[in-house]
Amino acid sequence: MRTIDLAIAIGGAAGQGIATPGNILARILVRRGLHVNVYDAYQSIIRGGHIFLTLRTSDEPVLSHGDKLDVLITLNQDTMDRHLKLMGPGSAVLYNADKIKPGQPAPGVQLCPFSVKELAPNVRGDLVQNTLALAALLRLVGVEFQILGDIIAHQFRAKGEAVIAENVGVARAGYDHADKHFKPFPVPLPDTGKPLAFLDGNTALAMGGAAAGVKFYCAYPMSPSSGVLHWMAAHGRKLGIMVRQVEDELGVINMAVGAAHAGTRAMCATSGGGFALMTEALGAAAMMEIPVVCINVQRAGPATGVPTKTEQGDLWQALGAGQGDYPRIIVAPTCIEECFHVVPQLFNLVDRFQCPGIILSDLLLSEGRFSIDPAELDFDVKIDRGNVIGLNGSNGHANGTYKRYEITPDGISPRAIPGTEGYVHVVATDEHDEDGVLISDEFTNPLKRQAMHEKRMRKMEGVLELLDPPELYGPADADVTLIGWGSTRGVIREAMGQLAAEGISANNLQVKWLVPLHAREILDVVGKAKRTIIVENNYSGQFARYLRSETSIVADGHVRKYDGEPFMPHHIVEGVKKVLAGTAKQFVPTHEIMV
């Protein structure tokens, strides 16, 4: 039973230090066993502009950042002017009254002013208002002061007792001020006694790579994928992972391919623009039959697009990455847990089938921060390198008889690692024969070309058998089936709850494995659905078009969003109601929060 559902927003300019109170708050909450979901709306500037962080917490899992705000912390006048109107009855607004004028709130909104000059007259620096606001907030939500004091002491441990004492003193003043002047929320935040872990999707992807045995990671910085690089760089030496920042994404993917061919598990991450540069080499990996994993953390495109905003706009880019037909595996994790789990799974698949694997994440999932049950992060994962020769030294056999691209019933040929005695061979991006010799070297041979092409593509049949098909979530006989892919799972499922409260039963088919696609299983489910609506974060209905091409399914309606901001649950609810009422075939919500 959900007893707590509280959303706290912190807004200000870039450089005002919004991340720190956000992280401290999240830490405090997950240590009490509360679930959190954090979404940070920001811009591509280092100082200035507007940053708006939403942290939602509950004693039950939090599926999205939600529809409403309970607390607004404004660090500048702009935030107050933009967002006071979002606040409804029962909510509270915290602000430094020295600098910020509140405007006219809606009835029932508690204005909570504090004065930095009065509460911390002798402390310098702009971050004081953050500490005061955070401390006051904790009083409002019924968290005891000691926890904040401990965290501040830990955070400033390198700066000495005097600095710690000063900062704890500031926090105390804010806490006591709130105690005296503000009305607390009716239900204090409980402590469930089961602490949770807290991480973003990029960290989960990186840790999934580490668990899978990635030994070579390289990247070119690109928002919103750089978090994977930062995690790898911070942990590489300790974990024995080589991490390289490369001159461009062409270099990134080709370096990863080289490292993978030499026998390591190699991974890289980028966003759409970098992925565009990588596409030829993904085809090369497939042609040479080298397993490599590439993460595309999607952001709003095309071109430079909106670098700090989310979108599910690269599906067709991934489907069509590079010239010609080639085997590839594409997966879109649908939640934070899957960001971790899909990486070792995908590595086992690409090792076994000797082809590239693509992970489609997006800004919402990769830079969103979530609580997670620590038991989900089990590093003891299954590792399967497939049919590989020579990783553990050479047996010296097969001198002269080895064929790297031997034609086999399942299309998988034994893969010898360079350096292995007796298995010398050449891999080529030109079409080649079983022994690796280019078929165009003297005379091309259509029959050999056809046989080799079929051998490679045949591998995909084996992949599908190993993957779990998507499962229908919710009542089987629902009025409407909401179909989504990747990161929209949480918000769709929250919308299902809201629809149920309005008497509309909905279920959800969320697709994770995109290539190969479980066309038959999806047809089975959709065949039984009363109505179908596809929900996705792009303009053209990329998944709707893909699903139609693979299954002939034409959905009854569509809910799409392509303004850079993620769906809020009520956007989907509104769209579903319009489609079911027959007033719209396609619904595009208007985002209410100007960030």
Binding site: M242, N254, H261
Partner: protein
Amino acid sequence: MTLATPSAPGADVPRGVPVRVPITVKDLKGKAEPDWCPGCGDFGVLAALKQAIADLGLYPHEVLVVSGIGCSSNLPGYINTYGMHTLHGRALAVATGAALANHEMKVVVTGGDGDGYGIGGNHFLHTMRRNVDLTYIVMDNQIYGLTTGQTSPTSIKGMKTKSTPNGNVENPINPIPLAIAAGATYVARGYTGQMKHLAELIKGGIMHKGFALIDAFSPCVTFNKENTHDFFKQRTYRLEERGHDPHDFHAAMEQAYTWGEEIPIGLFWERTDLPSLDQLEPVLQEGGPLARRPLGLTPEQGQALLKELM
């Protein structure tokens, strides 16, 4: 795996130490016959590379030859070592990954001037500054051959090609000073008409710990009517015969800019005081090649990672 020393038959080898049977140039013959035009300079590079490998006593499985795309990039198919025939312009990036994943392997990169100095120019620059332990042999014919004769980054000014029918107006790249300035630690130029000299330069490059560039004049007999064998025969002189000191930066730069009636070949520049990337990389300091290390994390490592998130 250390660099092998060829053991002469009947040499006095202690009991229990496996004798390495020396390989010959013949053992290095690849599966395919070269499809280069008769008289192509690339034959000279292939012969010189085989000679260098045989002379060094390396075994076929100890060498990885990586190429891009172009006439000269077909080379890996013609030599019996591990090979990767990759994408146009990307050989150095692929080779860097392979060399770092198995730093005990000898990695040689072969390609042409378009592949390396044109489409692959960015990788060329950065591979040199990183001083990756690679031997890069550029078969420089100053023309695009496989695409039937267009101007290249090293085509001389005024040269008429299919893409510059009125003469090339652009200045060519001079790879030698570029490489010296960019941080390559072994910079040489050979000429395929002097195969043994070229083989010695390649040997030096393979033995050199760090990035070695060997730009090899490799005349295109079909499409380049200006930079022909006659052209180079008349002009080339060997640096070592003129007392050049490859450890003298200013002398190296002066020679590097020499181009005209006389064109130098040989070793321009070498320095051995700079560590290569694998020597600088902390992860490679112990534990052998990355490729052969066990995968996954220990329970302790997993616990430590989890603790960071709590």
